[in-house]
Symmetry: C2
Subunit: 353 residues, 2 copies
Amino acid sequence: MALPLIAFMSDIKAPENVQLPLFAGVDVGGTNIKVGLVDNDGQIVATTKFPTQQELGPQAAINQARSVLDQLIDESPFSWPDVEAAGLGTPGPMDISRGLILTPVNLPGWRNFPVRDALSIALDKPVTFANDAAAAAYGEFWVGAGRNHDSTVLITLGTGVGGGIIVNNQPIDGSHSHGSEVGHIVIDSTDAARMCGCGHKGHLEAYASASAIVARTQEVLTERRNSILTQLIGEASPLSALMVSEAAAGGDDLACQIVAETAIYLGRGITILAHVIDPSAFFLGGAVDFGGAETELGRHFLDLVCAEVKKNSFPVIADQLTIEFAQLGSEAGFVGAAGLGRIEHLKKIAQRS
Amino acid sequence: MALPLIAFMSDIKAPENVQLPLFAGVDVGGTNIKVGLVDNDGQIVATTKFPTQQELGPQAAINQARSVLDQLIDESPFSWPDVEAAGLGTPGPMDISRGLILTPVNLPGWRNFPVRDALSIALDKPVTFANDAAAAAYGEFWVGAGRNHDSTVLITLGTGVGGGIIVNNQPIDGSHSHGSEVGHIVIDSTDAARMCGCGHKGHLEAYASASAIVARTQEVLTERRNSILTQLIGEASPLSALMVSEAAAGGDDLACQIVAETAIYLGRGITILAHVIDPSAFFLGGAVDFGGAETELGRHFLDLVCAEVKKNSFPVIADQLTIEFAQLGSEAGFVGAAGLGRIEHLKKIAQRS
């Protein structure tokens, strides 16, 4: 079945600045699939994305990834032999060792599909398989916010709270492909703890995800009406985490309170992780960034998170831990996937010699 | 200064069963220093221990470790050239990358001592330095309870609650030598949370260490007098965790309640760690084992811990996670230290080739 080729923008680097070999990265999301070519230094050589169209099934998407990469390479000064290996990130749950995507919530048509080997066959390259959050964490570690740190944790605040932990130059995948589930650590052990989407109580995700922020805001709004949000919901429902962020940026008291409480919840989670992993740095990614590093609110949020962590952690961690926003945005996933493909490639070379 | 040579038992293996090369392990504790020779398969070739005598300072202890290893080798069919490398475990806090022991509570005379390099000079071998709990965790992973698992967490219940996390064949040391501080994760976020010795509230150590068990028991004893412990304290004070364990083994209701609550607290901590690390197995070590795997109470305690973890963790973890007692006892530390020395040695060989 022929899929329509999607128009795309790509940014081919001047070949003299590219460090060969290249590595291909594929980042599968529920809406789009991002692909790219990354050089040996982690520089993006070319990138594009296309709709996942999950109703057409995973093999169609894999074929499309090949077509799109063919096109990227055709438009570049490089050729397929310059590409040594590839990396693939997908949502979980998954079986990393067997290369299977299992029962992804947003990709029902992809259930139990041997996605790693299918991509490897389509590209005729070895493929390293990872959780999408682990791939993004590796991307930030390799060439993003973490490039000067020796071990890092990425926490993504979005629809859920996900993350990836990089220690000893590798993600913690877990023995059952459930490592780095930082959204599902208990930060509230009280009887009144909130229920998480996973069915357990008190998890970080139940406090700091976009939907949790909306739920917490709505609860306060029923008691306190003197917020700009009361008016906004009337004009343009439904309430969103972005609306809360914008209201807080505008100085709305209730929204500012929600942001401050979110920082405390996140700080609690980071403190636990800091005492388990003791990384050099934590990075915050995902859509819920309260404006990010470029805004006053974003920096204020980060300050509040840091203050909460400092208050509750060992002195050396309080003194030396870095907590910042991630830098690669939506490119972190495919860059990190390509980087993980590179690491496997380097290991194979080391074993051969 | 000549130290008195301590009499010791050693168990030299038949040379035909030993897989060369050998690795030396040194495990520094506040009371004793355990040393041993371990072969390439992790078999103990010879082992002994001597008093730390911390008032004589670290260099005297290092010299004694060399003398004792000389004697072990003299009595064996092997010689120093058969020993490729060594490993050293000490209590923290420490600076692993610089090889320093910093401000150990039980070794005041060892402050800021470059213990790794001092041992390396004394033995004329490369020395790998690790936290003592990380070394023990590696020993259990390599040849103990974890020998058939791909990633493991050791939790030691003793004076404090310590631990070591082994992922990708390495301990998580942390960027500031504070990784794997599993006793210092918050398991109680209520206002009534107990204060931990580290100065923060709600940590696992404040609930499941020997002294925490004593404190919790004493609180209940002030309200309920119908426990054998009331009588025992009268006869042989002070109360100890071992007395609580023995009373529970004898069926004392109050002591059984303390054991059951300890299991729940530990289960909470393990659930958090399981969602962060997702190891193949957790192992419980240390003096507070409620009799261990050979007793009904020990097995009951383990069942209660498992039940609490199953109730609160992801289905795949609830189904597949192993939680058992550790197997190497006090030998885990020097065996693991030797094993970490071996891993570094193997890495150097791989880099050379």
